[in-house]
Symmetry: C2
Subunit: 178 residues, 2 copies
């Protein structure tokens, strides 16, 4: 039922765009709008469920990157992996350190580098974040066939988007792993 | 070639997660991570191409909502359609008015409402934004079959995510149309 209502809303949305404003869109651009609105809706759902355990999306992202890191992490590496501006992540790390979620220390091997790591409080916050499972299991509404289709589609889209990012900002991605 | 490299990176990423930290994830949670990282990569690509014409994602979102609106828009309606906090959009609209992209006027029909509309400069900025087509055509890397699969998948995911949002924040979505 929900899906039917939503499809109708979507059709209305596009009818609206085309009726009131002659914005010419390719099929890919129509699909982009759909994917884009879907992704911000998914992010909003995740944001709200993280708020239930007192975390923002950005904080959760940093906690996750630190949790899975195999190598020492500094704000620059975190910013690349989260596709955020370095100064945004530096400011965030400073606030998270004030909140006791992370700690920073001078890197012994590379001067001028700051190594960021999880505190015990940060570890606990990470555990709280993975207890929030509604948004993270959103694809449970899809059929097996649709789920199987998603991984290769995501991989292609991410590869293409990364290509665009490299083209527009070539220097930043030279040593990016994810 | 790019796709193959990317798949390997992705596999490494998950092997890394599972090897170094015993984070148990359902298949849906693995898929969520993939979708989430893909969506922030797509958004970053779009952000960079919008920066080429001097616009932020948030500004472009407001310009788009005002351009397609059939009814008078106020900051609250814009915030709902963009899945953002009302205070974030109010502050953004204030800055965009200072930049000459939008103008605000008291709503004649509903007191305490502010009607937001595009200025001529805002119309021109909207035209610039739709000239940036790389990210908006990102799905051109997909096969016809994959493209056809995307719309119903997006519709289901958006419906489910909207359900989660309503559950976590019931009052905000009572009159949301998109």
């Amino acid at each position: 039922m929900d899906n039917v209502v939503f499809c109708k809303m979507w059709q209305n949305h596009y009818r609206e765009v085309h009726m009131t404003q002659p914005i010419r869109m390719t099929d890919d651009e129509v699909l982009w709008e759909n994917i884009f609105i879907t992704s911000i809706t998914l992010q909003r759902a995740r944001e709200l469920e993280l708020a239930q355990v007192g975390l923002s999306m950005a904080q959760a992202g940093v906690l996750y990157q630190l949790k899975i890191a195999k190598e020492p992490m500094n704000p620059m590496k975190i910013s690349r992996r989260m596709h955020k501006q370095p100064h945004t992540i530096s400011a965030l790390v400073t606030r998270m350190e004030a909140d006791g979620l992370v700690e920073t220390a001078k890197d012994l091997e590379r001067k001028n580098w700051v190594r960021v790591s999880l505190t015990k409080k940060g570890q606990e916050a990470f555990k709280r974040q993975i207890t929030q499972k509604l948004a993270r299991n959103v694809t449970s509404c899809l059929s097996k066939k649709e789920k199987d289709a998603m991984a290769p589609i995501c991989n292609k889209l991410r590869a293409r988007a990364t290509g665009i990012i490299r083209q527009l900002q070539p220097d930043l991605y030279s040593d990016l792993l994810i």
